[in-house]
């Protein structure tokens, strides 16, 4: 069983469009939406939810103003500036470390464990899918990603599925690290912009840091052919493999509006390009190229 993660340094480069197309093209895969922060894959895959699990988040402190003796210790010791002059906890700033609870001489602090989100096992027209919805203003997205990936692996093993396609998140922080550790390859989908190039560089460094083979494709390549060239040359220098370009094509948005994977939508230059990239990626995963 192979695992392929699709990421983009910057979001909005067409990563989910590519993932959905791959899901349609692969015939024996499990999909894992690990972009738990802004999960969009379900908009195209229309999963029917089979299992539903809640995901526990971190702790959040609250202070009971009746019990508080205004000694100020909690505020002094909290390293996250989460307690204000009136000894009220800013839930958004609180990291749930419990220091205020530990120092409070009056037992005025309560720590509660909130539900941070849900994760699901679903069926789609392209096979099983594991996905999640993180409630807003929550942390621990890396843990949720790990949970989604683990379940996807179990399903792949039980069903004899050959491939797990992971839709990763943008950036280089904890959810991305969780998305790409231990995969067989990471496909970075980028755009021919200065920002795209800069972000790609950081993701390739991250992939190298975790020893994951990297593949690169450039979306909307014709928007700035000079930048595309520079990106291709640069990725190869960094040891990544260039697997193709996708032209700017309004069909991509039309397919999204129709809630169809690009490869299910009418023939278009973008569709052709994505299919070609899929063939290349599959050969690389199978060790044939």
């Amino acid at each position: 069983m192979k695992q392929l993660a699709i990421v983009s340094g910057k979001g909005g480069t067409g990563k989910t469009t590519l993932t959905a197309a791959f899901a349609a093209l692969a015939d024996n895969a499990v999909m894992a939406d690990c972009d738990v922060d802004a999960a969009d894959l379900h908009l195209i895959l229309a999963p029917e939810i089979g299992e539903r699990h809640s995901f526990a988040g971190g702790l959040t402190a609250t202070i009971d103003s009746e019990a508080c003796v205004i000694c100020g210790q909690c505020r002094e010791m909290c390293r996250f500036d989460a307690i204000d002059e009136t000894f009220t906890v800013d839930a958004a700033a609180c990291e749930g470390c419990g220091v205020c609870y530990d120092v409070c001489p009056a037992g005025a602090v309560t720590l509660t464990n909130e539900v941070a989100g849900e994760w699901y096992v679903s069926s789609t027209r392209f096979g099983p899918m594991v996905h999640a919805a993180l409630n807003v203003a929550q942390e621990n997205s890396g843990k949720l990603v790990a949970q989604v990936r683990q379940r996807a692996r179990e399903i792949a093993e039980a069903d004899g599925r050959e491939l797990i396609i992971i839709d990763g998140s943008p950036g280089i922080g904890c959810p991305v690290i969780s998305s790409l550790t231990g995969v067989d390859a990471v496909l970075v989908c980028t755009e021919p912009t200065l920002s795209g190039q800069h972000d790609l560089e950081r993701v390739l460094e991250l992939a190298a840091h975790f020893d994951v083979p990297a593949l690169v494709c450039v979306n909307k390549a014709d928007l700035a052919p000079d930048m595309t060239e520079a990106i291709v040359a640069h990725s190869e220098e960094k040891g990544a493999r260039f697997v193709g370009t996708i032209p700017y094509d309004e069909t991509v948005v039309a397919a999204m509006i129709a809630a169809r994977a690009l490869s299910e939508h009418e023939p278009s230059p973008a569709r052709e390009a994505v299919e070609e990239i899929w063939r290349t990626v599959r050969q690389i995963l199978n060790g044939e190229a």
């Binding site: 908009l43 702790l59 530990d102 950036g171 922080g173 930048m227």
Partner: protein, 283 residues
């Protein structure tokens, strides 16, 4: 006033909006790049860097001449970042939040802290404007400490434009929490709409005054407009889907410098934000 510019989804044009607002700002203004995992503002603003410093988080260090392996530190740690073995205390730095609970809990005072570098903050100027940027080191999982450092650096004086990271979880919260206004940039597509809904839920949970700017207007469908109308969210600007803007962006050029006819759009947007903040202040 501090204005944060955010989007549920990446790549919707947050940075484009932030730098163009900076370029049309009449008075003292600072751009603060809080997208510390992938900061891009620098590519457009080409700042002159006046200085930079390392951003660190405290990491506990155990003194084995004092430690009795009692396990109290492990019990105190809410992040499961400590394992106490018969002859060693392991601290998993990627899980540690640097909260200091273990230091307080140790009865032998065996734990001290060292500063562990996780990124850096650079500051300087770009034209008349100030520039501050946070950069997370590759391989580091937690960006909020770097974001908080950038926020401390810029303070609250003048106009501060915060370029927030994408998403709705902890890094974004660190960037937008306690700002005076949050502008949500989106695209008029189903993905854009879905992620906008998450971003709206976030700013509502934080009680932040907010409005929407639509980028690449004309592309896609009317879903975002319908949603904003139904929810009573103001759309303060619509930036047209113009290939020339995309090309300027691709090469690291600012839209208002390349296409001066866009200036009024961003001037109007900035004024509208100022008026919304002033109205709230007066209320």
């Amino acid at each position: 006033m501090i204005v944060s510019i955010a989007s549920g989804k990446g790549g919707t044009g947050k940075t484009t909006v932030a730098i163009n607002l900076l370029r049309v700002a009449p008075g003292e203004a600072v751009y603060a790049d809080c997208d510390v995992e992938e900061p891009n503002g620098r590519l457009f603003l080409r700042p002159e860097i006046a200085g930079e410093y390392t951003c660190t988080v405290p990491l506990p260090v155990v003194d084995y001449t004092k430690c009795t392996f009692c396990g109290r530190c492990r019990e105190a740690c809410r992040f499961n970042a400590i394992a106490v073995l018969p002859k060693s205390v392991m601290i998993f730095q990627e899980l540690c939040h640097g909260c200091g609970a273990c230091v307080m809990a140790c009865p032998e005072r065996a734990i001290s802290e060292r500063e562990r570098p996780i990124g850096k903050v650079s500051h300087g100027t770009s034209g008349n404007a100030g520039f501050v940027e946070g950069l997370l080191n590759v391989g580091e999982a937690m960006s909020p400490p770097v974001i908080r450092q950038v926020r401390r650096h810029v303070g609250r004086d003048g106009l501060v434009l915060i370029d927030a990271p994408p998403g709705t979880s902890c890094p974004v919260i660190a960037a937008v929490n306690n700002t005076d206004f949050c502008l949500l940039v989106t695209e008029p597509t189903p993905f854009g709409l879905h992620d906008l809904k998450l971003a709206v839920a976030m700013v509502r949970a934080l009680g932040l005054p907010h409005a929407v700017a639509i980028n690449r207007a004309g592309l896609g469908d009317r879903g975002v407009h319908d949603y904003c109308a139904a929810e009573g969210i103001e759309i303060l600007a619509e930036i047209p889907n113009d290939r020339r803007i995309a090309e300027a962006y691709a090469h690291g050029r600012t839209a208002v410098e390349e296409l001066p006819e866009l200036r009024p759009l961003f001037e109007k947007l900035l004024r509208a934000i100022g008026e919304r903040i002033a109205a709230r202040g007066a209320a």
